[in-house]
Symmetry: C2
Subunit: 241 residues, 2 copies
Amino acid sequence: MLSTSRDRVRRTEVGKINRDAHQPTTVRHRGHVEQHWADGTVRRIEAKAHVFTQGDAKTHVYKVASGAVCLYTVLTDGRRQIIEFALPGDVVGLGAASVQACNAQAIVSTQVQCLPVAALLKAAKKDPEIALKLYEAISRELLATREHLLCLGQRGACERLAAFLVVLSRRNAARGADPRIVKLPMTRLDVADFLGLTIETVSRTLSKMKRQGLIEIDQITIVRLKDDGKLLRLADGGARV
Amino acid sequence: MLSTSRDRVRRTEVGKINRDAHQPTTVRHRGHVEQHWADGTVRRIEAKAHVFTQGDAKTHVYKVASGAVCLYTVLTDGRRQIIEFALPGDVVGLGAASVQACNAQAIVSTQVQCLPVAALLKAAKKDPEIALKLYEAISRELLATREHLLCLGQRGACERLAAFLVVLSRRNAARGADPRIVKLPMTRLDVADFLGLTIETVSRTLSKMKRQGLIEIDQITIVRLKDDGKLLRLADGGARV
DNA sequence: CGACTACTTGACAAGGATCAAAGTTGGTGG
DNA sequence: CCACCAACTTTGATCCTTGTCAAGTAGTCG
């Protein structure tokens, strides 16, 4: 970010980084956590509405059921950093602090399951298994955030985009979808704010990758990975543009 | 980071971001955690030696007793991102993963207390209080890392340095030291790798701040904050250079 | 007092930002 | 069904911050 940018505008989005805490296969221990989620109420949030904002009392933890949410923070002059994209299955609002430190905004019409933290903590205080699940879930978030930190601190524009696509591709693979076809439901601006770039740089870089045969783009939101090996090397610093 | 930088060299350091989990005032609940720390063995690590490296089995959690440690990750071409600096009282190695995802290196001769994770987890499984302490501790790390992410993604060089100094200043204040006098035991290279800049930019930016009367520098490692109000505004995006 | 290592400073280049404008896409209403 | 409009995206030209390359300075240790 070279200078001032006070004109950050609006959004629409998707894409995500950290895996959520409650994978049926693992959680089968006793079923506590799923039970709690099942008890939670469901809330519908329209596109661009906030699930919560910075400073809100942390009353609930939210699990994305459908749609997509982005977590972000802002500087006083309006510059925005998107911390992560939360997709179905992902949880937002974890953390032991009593107030929310970020903003969470739906990027498309979204449904979330709401779990009251009071109940969750009460359960955790009785059942260490649940407390440890919280620990595991937030550990995963921390890992993903550190990876992102490496991205922003050390990688150039191409590398950031490549890393971004690779992560989304992996998420696809993890949920059984085609890892070669990545859907970008979020705006270019969202991608830019996630990667610490400008919208123009994102667009140009994507075009460049297209020219180089690394990817193809359909109707703006669908990216087809043509050479994920090279993308991977690009992201890991093992290849020059 | 504009291009390739394959020539990253060596270090020496200090500086830190996240507060540790075990503040006597809060932990007085039952004393479990302190008890565990007291049981742990102490290990001495000389400057530049690693406490652990990426991929190591996560056998212990470490609490810095004296000295300083940096956590970092690297890209395959050698670019290094320092995640955080751990100072006395800070804990490194938390996280539910079974292997270390980062490298932890002493930047000066350091002593750490080692706590076997096996014992810690066993205790946590019996006592939810302990499990929740883990959750709280790692929640704090996540918050600090997100703040850092905002820094790398959105702030320019001056702003990054200002934010860095402000954080160190606050840490001083938190431990009762003079917030206006910040010691930088780490190398300029370490600062650069922490902030996603080059050593030259760090040096130049510090010099510029000095010329502007924001800071004074004694014997390279001591920074005197002359105008912390303006530094704060700089860091928060509320001021132009 | 040399040889290191770390830091600073300068000149130049390059990646990405900014400014500007044109091309797409999707929704609305006639 | 199509014209129009707003929002989003792409592309181009130019500027600026920061990286790169290259000296030069300053402490440290033997």
